[in-house]
């Protein structure tokens, strides 16, 4: 079975953590974020537009990200013609704290799960 066929479903918190994590590496925009998530997870995680953009809107409303707009013009467009608008997201200090909190919670969870997998003796690494 391919990774795509067995793609696990991300919870909302996990998706939020992944998006914040991508933004912690620098400003980005929706389409690039979705591509980066797919690429870095080797297509295992796919965050569709219907999930991503409402989430980004929520993050913005909560002050976890700040936004800027950029005007994109194609090379063939008339110089005076208006271009399309691209919305860039940047992690805010509040977002950084949220990301740290999410990572810590995730690591705690993973450690607890590992303790079960390792068994009572804790022999497994």
């Amino acid at each position: 079975m391919s990774a795509k066929e067995s793609a696990p479903q991300l919870t909302q918190d996990q998706t939020e953590m992944i998006v914040l994590s991508v933004l912690s590496e620098g400003p980005s925009y929706g389409y690039a974020i979705s591509k980066q998530i797919a690429a870095r997870s080797e297509e295992t995680f796919r965050v569709g537009a219907s999930q991503l953009y409402p989430l980004l809107t929520k993050l913005e409303k909560q002050g976890l990200v700040s936004t800027d707009w950029e005007e994109i013009k194609s090379a063939s467009a008339e110089p005076e013609a208006p271009g399309r608008k691209r919305k860039w997201y940047r992690l805010s200090p509040k977002g950084e704290r949220r990301l740290e909190s999410r990572i810590a919670a995730h690591q705690r969870f993973t450690a607890i799960m590992n303790s079960f997998i390792a068994g009572p003796s804790g022999a497994a690494s």
């Binding site: 569709g48 409402p54 929520k58 800027d68």
Partner: protein, 451 residues
């Protein structure tokens, strides 16, 4: 990225439809959003960038432009659902403010949750209330969304003020909207045994205690820390918006002014199923223009309309899938039937040919017999002519008469066989024609099903 922060810029009005399919899709999408113009426009701009960037990527991969556009739009998911997701964020956000306000209120959160309980279940977005409440808590804190006390007997004004105070919220009651129901600040209301009940149930009890139902029910809206309370009818009036719903998947129309029987059925069904009072009382209206269903109605009703259309589209798709399956089945059955008829016709043709061969063989035998007899007849005639003995001549004559009778008999049989062979050949020719027709039908059917 440019440094210009365009948050403060003037947002362009919603773009009119154009022939560009992406722009057309965005027009439909923004009409479904039913959000303030500026907010809709920003969401539209962002999704347009997503779609066009995706199309560019797909074109590089070798797709044609129409294919790329279709795939990019399909990847976004079902349009109405996407719009609901955006609206859910907005509603969610507004509810969070109220919930967090409640957390810091000395009177405790439960009473304010009951104010939230006045919020209509469908007016903003189809969000599960319990999920909203739980999500509104700081991490590590949860409650079950139930009131922690009973509501004492008193006046309606006092009870509503108490609920607002508990949430540290400002209260504005549209008393004018409650007057037709005979309600005012001094209206007495009995105690509500609310402790341990979910907020939705408490709302129901308060409305029940006041004898209110349907459009008369008390309902609330929250904006920041302002709680507005009025009748359902009041909020329906002030929140009326117009949306053009795309019904092209349900109604066949070649012209925007066409009004088909399907459109009539859709309108009648919608008005019967969704909030009949709204249409009867003039709070909403429906117009069908070709593939566009224009609805003027309160926001909460618009959400129901979007769901209704989505359900009809799903049902239509199921029917079309079922019809396609039935058509395939019918075609396969027809093909099997045609092939059986072809086989039967071939067998019939072959049987006729066999019968013809038998008749032909019989005719050949009779012909040989006839020619032998004819030869014998000529011999007897010669013998008769040459015979001088009267007695023997008389015998020759007798033999000659018998041979002549046999010749007539054989000739009659040959004629009969000739007729039978002629009929058989006609039957074979008809069979061949039928066969050619069936072969053509089966061959055409095979090509059709193979397409």
């Amino acid at each position: 990225m440019t440094s210009a922060d365009t948050k403060a810029r003037d947002i362009a009005p919603v773009k009119p439809s154009s022939r560009d399919p992406i722009a057309q899709w965005l027009d439909v999408f923004t009409s479904l959003l039913a959000l303030p113009a500026g907010e809709s426009e920003r969401i539209r701009d962002e999704l347009e960038d997503h779609l066009r960037t995706r199309v560019d990527d797909l074109l590089i991969l070798g797709m044609s432009e129409p294919e790329a556009v279709q795939k990019a739009v399909t990847e976004l998911g079902e349009t109405a659902q996407l719009a609901r997701n955006f609206k859910a964020v907005r509603t969610h956000s507004r509810r969070r403010i109220a919930m967090h306000t409640a957390l810091f209120a000395a009177a405790g959160l439960a009473l304010t949750v009951s104010v939230a309980g006045f919020l209509p279940q469908t007016s903003r977005a189809p969000i599960d209330q319990s999920a909203v409440i739980v999500d509104a808590q700081p991490e590590g804190e949860h409650h079950n969304g139930m009131l922690d006390r009973d509501l004492p007997e008193g006046t309606l004004g006092d009870m509503l003020q108490m609920l607002a105070d508990a949430g540290n919220a400002r209260l504005f009651v549209h008393w004018g909207s409650l007057e037709p129901m005979g309600l005012g600040p001094e209206t007495e209301i009995r105690a509500i045994p609310a402790k341990g009940l979910e907020h939705g149930k408490v709302r129901q009890l308060i409305n029940s205690a006041l004898g209110l139902e349907g459009a008369d029910e008390l309902t609330a809206r929250m904006d920041g820390n302002l709680v507005e309370i009025g009748s359902q009818t009041y909020f329906d009036r002030v929140e009326t918006i117009t949306i053009d719903h795309d019904i092209s998947k349900l109604v066949r129309a070649d012209h925007v002014l066409e009004f088909t029987e399907e459109a009539s059925n859709l309108r009648n069904g919608l008005c019967m199923v969704i909030e009949p009072d709204v249409w009867d009382n003039g709070l909403g209206s429906v117009a069908v223009n070709g593939p566009i269903l224009s609805i003027r109605a309160p926001q909460r009703v618009q959400v129901m309309v979007i769901d209704y259309i989505a359900r009809l589209e799903a049902a239509q798709k199921r029917m079309q899938d079922g019809a396609a399956m039935q058509e395939l089945k019918d075609r396969e059955e027809a093909k099997a039937s045609q092939e059986a008829a072809l086989k039967q016709s071939i067998e019939s043709r072959n049987r006729l040919i066999s019968e013809l061969e038998v008749l032909q063989a019989q005719l050949d035998e009779f012909n040989v017999e006839y020619w032998r007899n004819d030869y014998r007849l000529k011999e007897l005639e010669a013998a008769y002519q040459n015979e001088s003995n009267e007695a023997l001549k008389s015998e020759r004559l007798e033999e000659l008469v018998q041979a002549g009778a046999r010749s007539d008999s054989l000739n009659a049989k040959r004629n009969l066989l000739d007729q039978q062979i002629g009929s058989k050949r006609s039957a074979i020719a008809a069979s061949e024609n039928n066969l050619s027709y069936l072969q053509a039908v089966v061959s055409e059917g095979g090509r059709s099903s193979g397409r």
